[in-house]
């Protein structure tokens, strides 16, 4: 559960997030969408504590992100572009993140690791990996520690069709377990099967926050992508 309260984020004079109020409740998978520069990444970075919050607040499970870093035990994050120290292997990288999390091996979720067959590549150095394989490592790390909240930034961008299907299935499975999943993506067609709620942002504000069913009945469409496009068209008028 994430509660965003009156969050305003400025970069010098540019207002990236403008008095944002928002609630993400558990067992939902939420798509954050909007044009480039609308504040999606800034919002995610604020939740993760990568951006410093000056005005407003974000509560993750009731705890303010400004005070203690330990709330991040409940969050798994898959960045859009992952870059890792070049000379270390996949195995060493995963081991290092495991060490910082300090979670017993029995509680780890290694399903994605097996599905992606990454263990066969454990000895490969990060420098030699393709973009897609690096994305797989990021995805594995995001799901591995059984976090209550999973944040995915453009998860399927570099993945081959087979792997992105594996990832999608995993996302649906975790959502059904009652986890909160936040996805940003520009590939609207990809979202159809996964998400249950849409948050549409523009210029640092929330334009629409609706469940998928409401959105589709309101715009009389059968696909999320079509509803989004009709919202976009209305905005331009």
């Amino acid at each position: 559960m994430i509660d965003v309260k009156k969050l305003t984020k400025k970069f010098n004079k540019f207002t990236a997030l403008d008095d944002l109020n928002l609630q993400f409740t558990d067992s939902k998978s939420i798509a954050l969408i909007g044009p480039n520069g609308c504040g999606k990444t800034t919002l995610i970075k604020c939740i993760l504590g990568l951006n410093v919050i000056e005005t407003g607040d974000i509560l993750v499970d009731g705890k303010s992100v400004k005070e203690d870093f330990r709330y991040r035990e409940n969050i798994g994050y898959m960045p859009q572009i992952g870059r890792y120290p070049e000379n270390m292997t996949i195995g060493q990288t995963i081991q290092m993140i495991k060490d910082t999390r300090k979670i017993p091996a029995s509680e780890l979720d290694t399903e994605l690791l097996q599905d992606f067959a990454l263990e066969n590549l454990y000895h490969k150095k990060m420098r030699t990996l393709s973009g897609g394989t690096t994305q797989k490592v990021s995805a594995v790390l995001a799901f591995m520690f059984n976090p209550k909240i999973i944040i995915l930034d453009e998860p399927t961008a570099g993945l081959d069709p087979l792997s992105s299907e594996i990832l999608k299935k995993k996302i649906i499975k975790e959502k059904n377990k009652g986890k909160l999943i936040i996805i940003t993506s520009h590939l609207l067609s990809e979202l159809d099967e996964i998400i249950s709620e849409v948050v549409f942002m523009n210029e640092g504000r929330i334009i629409v926050q609706q469940s998928v069913e409401d959105l589709m009945t309101e715009h009389k469409t059968e696909k999320i992508s079509e509803s989004i496009i009709s919202i976009l068209k209305e905005m331009k008028k």
């Binding site: 890792y84 070049e86 270390m88 993140i97």
Partner: protein, 255 residues
């Protein structure tokens, strides 16, 4: 040592540039110490190389490494780890790797071809300069998002302490030659980590002729033993201050 620091240390030790740096230092040290029979003279020649190369490589390499790790830093910060801890461990990993490179490249030849009695001050300042300029690199990298600007700041810091600072001192000495400015000059000379490192080694080798004006004044004012103690304290301050400022900045930074 923390897991993050150790991870970064091993990553850097396998880095080709650091391996090249180590080999380069080794060849230079080996040839300088091998060619010159007089240990003191050889150490002096080596001193000049160390004063030039160690700060330059430490600051440029560390700056580039921190910029290249920006996404990795973001990933680390999305784990339940405090910001200060991540930043400190990167510093620790970088500094340890560069110290090891120096010890293998320079310390080993000194042990093999010279004596520890003549060489120990050189080894100490090599270690100190590695840490100090890594600390400066952390500061340069946190000041700006733009990699080119960050590297520019690093090069300027290196140039300032290696070249410009002594130039300014020289101009001051000529301008105020008629006044009793020894105390001020000694203080100013003692504030530059590179100049101070030179004085530190020369004080230990006890060759006042080589000290130069600033060093001669420094030796005169502080005396040999006290001078070395104060030098070490100032070097330690230089190693920690830039890093502490960078840490304060990093804690407030939007990544």
């Amino acid at each position: 040592m923390n897991k993050i620091a150790r991870f970064i240390l091993f990553d850097i030790l396998k880095n080709k540039i650091v391996i090249f740096y180590t080999v380069l230092l080794f060849i230079i040290s080996w040839s300088v110490l091998g060619l010159e029979g007089n240990y003191t003279k050889a150490t002096l020649s080596l001193l000049n190389v160390v004063l030039l190369v160690v700060p330059l490589v430490s600051i440029i390499f560390s700056t580039i490494y921190v910029y290249n790790s920006s996404q990795f830093i973001e990933l680390l910060l999305s784990q339940p780890v405090a910001r200060a801890k991540v930043w400190f461990n990167i510093f620790l990993g970088l500094a340890t790797a560069l110290i090891l490179a120096f010890l293998v490249g320079c310390g080993l030849p000194i042990l093999l071809y010279s004596s520890i009695e003549t060489g120990f001050s050189l080894i100490i300042i090599g270690i100190m300069l590695s840490v100090i300029f890594t600390s400066f690199a952390m500061l340069a990298a946190v000041l700006t998002r733009d990699r080119a600007k960050g590297i520019g700041i690093s090069i300027f810091i290196w140039m300032f302490f290696s070249i410009i600072y002594d130039g300014i001192l020289l101009v001051l000495m000529f301008q105020f030659a008629d006044y009793p400015i020894e105390g001020i000059m000694a203080t100013l000379a003692g504030l530059n980590p590179v100049g101070l490192s030179r004085i530190f080694v020369l004080l230990q080798l006890d060759i006042s002729a080589m000290l130069g004006y600033a060093g001669a004044v420094f030796a005169q004012v502080f005396g040999s033993r006290g001078g070395m103690g104060i030098s070490l304290v100032v070097l330690l301050l230089w190693a920690s201050f830039p890093f502490l400022i960078s840490l304060i900045n990093f804690n407030k930074k939007d990544l």
